[in-house]
């Protein structure tokens, strides 16, 4: 890599014939210009031309984009959808508040009409979801949990302060383990262990850690 060089927005970096555009740059009249104030990075990624991008070391501001996995917290539930606050995009925490909605039909992939929202989510649950749409004028980001790796990760029990381990079926929450007062529950299960014949095509489980606090 060539020595890092600093640039400001609007700096002409190189011609489009020398490099491929990465992040933090834009193309104009056959030249690549920088659009951020930061370090210029040229990487050879195996294609013919190196990729040029401008990075700032401070956390990159990510916006939830279509297809991104986000971590969110349920704020309110309804019979038709659940409203969430998006906290993390991937592994980057967000500084500002973004709102999302998980519709009833997006909770799981099978038996979509038999979903009961109040059994699938509770306010305060932390959920892993995927963005399917930026939404239109009235709505917020639309999220889905209808995949194997998505769904509720951490939940609070009815008692309030104690957290429970959850096994969930196809994305919905089914509190299987009781809220033991002094129990520390750590359960790791893999999906292959618990494949059993059931009316659902596959029981969906996930690696869950949970700590119960007393």
């Amino acid at each position: 890599m060539s020595p890092t060089r600093l640039c400001v927005p609007g700096d002409k970096l190189c011609s489009v014939e020398d490099c491929i555009m990465g992040t933090g740059v834009y193309l104009r009249h056959g030249y690549i210009y920088s659009s951020l104030a930061g370090y210029v990075l040229r990487k050879n990624e195996g294609e013919e031309l190196p990729v040029i991008s401008v990075v700032r070391e401070t956390e990159v501001q990510l916006l939830p984009d279509v297809g991104a996995i986000v971590t969110c917290k349920v704020t309110s539930i309804n019979s038709r959808f659940a409203k969430v606050h998006i906290l993390y995009v991937g592994s980057t925490p967000l500084k500002d508040l973004f709102r999302g909605t998980i519709r009833k039909e997006d909770v799981r992939a099978t038996e979509k009409d038999k979903v009961e929202m109040h059994r699938s989510f509770r306010p305060g649950d932390i959920v892993l979801a995927k963005v399917i749409s930026l939404g239109d004028v009235q709505s917020n980001y639309l999220l889905t949990t209808a995949e194997n790796e998505l769904g509720v990760v951490v939940a609070h029990s009815d008692a309030g302060e104690h957290t429970v381990t959850l096994l969930w079926r196809d994305g919905g929450v089914q509190p299987q383990v009781e809220t033991g007062d002094r129990k520390i529950i750590i359960q790791f299960m893999s999906t292959s262990d618990l494949h059993c014949p059931h009316s659902y095509e596959r029981r969906k489980l996930c690696v869950l850690v949970c700590v119960s606090v007393f």
Binding site: T4, L6, V8, P9, G10, D11, K12, G24, Y26, R28, Y33, S35, L36, A37, G38, Y39, R56, E57, T58, V60, Q61, L63, K95, D96, L97, F98, R99, L134, G135, D136, V137, Q138, Y141
Partner: protein, 269 residues
């Protein structure tokens, strides 16, 4: 009569405090050297001090001092827009707010925005909007707040420069920096980067006016233009060219300040 020893007696004759205030404003000469030693009819901008990253709570911030004019700008965002309409779905929104501190002008102002403040905010938004890559921030809002701490002339121009610096410091993607410069046309001569007295010096000659230009140096485009007063067409076009030259003079200083800020935030990786 027993004297009252606990109170300080007031003078028997009272006078109005305005008698003790400064005299009427000095009328500046319209030729010869300017009050602070700069030259007329030359692109002589005041030296600036710029620093980024002063406001820790904001995403990005910048402080600029030019002569006695002091401005502070902070940028928040991108955050979710509260009020949405059709255009927001595709690109972000920029909101600007420019306020004068009550102690900034020679006459005390109020905290509530007057109509002039709103005009400044609008001009700021119009100048900054073309430079931002708003299509990369759909459904989001970027807030720019400028606070004028001391108004010693040419506030609009320096606010534009300060705001674009703060935006670059915040990591918002921009096509180019926006620099501002203003001139004051006084009869046949002009002064670049006027001070407060020079700005408000309305003498009776013709062709009096002021001009503020917001310029993108690398793309060579003018993004904002505001003028008031009475000027002929040639004067106006010459004035725009002068302002553009003034912006070019500022450009290296602004670049340096940004580079320093990036280095300070993240030493060589």
């Amino acid at each position: 009569m027993p004297t009252d020893t606990k109170r300080v007696r007031a003078p028997e004759v009272s006078q109005s405090p305005s008698l003790f205030s400064c005299g009427p404003a000095v009328v500046l000469p319209s030729h010869g050297a300017r009050a602070d030693g700069r030259q007329r009819d030359q692109v002589d901008v005041r030296p600036v001090f710029v620093r980024c990253g002063l406001v820790s709570q904001a995403k990005g911030s910048a402080y600029i001092e030019a002569g006695d004019t002091k401005l502070l700008c902070s940028v928040y965002g991108p955050k979710e827009t509260e009020r949405k309409d059709e255009t927001d779905m595709k690109c972000g929104r920029l909101t600007t707010d420019m306020r004068f501190a009550p102690f900034s002008c020679p006459e005390r102002g109020s905290w509530i925005q007057g109509s002039q403040d709103k005009n400044f905010s609008l001009m700021l938004q119009e100048s900054l909007q073309p430079a931002l890559c708003l299509h990369k921030y759909p459904r989001s809002q970027i807030e720019v707040n400028v606070m004028v701490l001391e108004n010693s002339g040419s506030v609009q121009a320096h606010a534009i420069t300060c705001a674009s610096l703060a935006l670059a410091d915040a990591g918002i993607e921009m096509y180019d920096l926006v620099l501002g410069c203003s001139i004051r046309q006084d009869g046949s001569s002009y002064v670049v980067d006027p001070t407060y007295l020079e700005e408000n010096n309305w003498s009776s000659s013709e062709h009096q006016g002021g001009l503020t230009v917001a310029f993108l140096p690398s793309l060579n485009q003018v993004s904002g233009l505001q003028s008031d007063g009475e000027m002929t067409e040639e004067t106006l076009t010459a004035g725009i060219r002068t302002c553009i030259e003034g912006c070019y003079k500022l450009y290296p200083v602004i670049q340096q300040a940004l580079v320093k800020a990036v280095r300070r935030a993240a030493p060589e990786s």
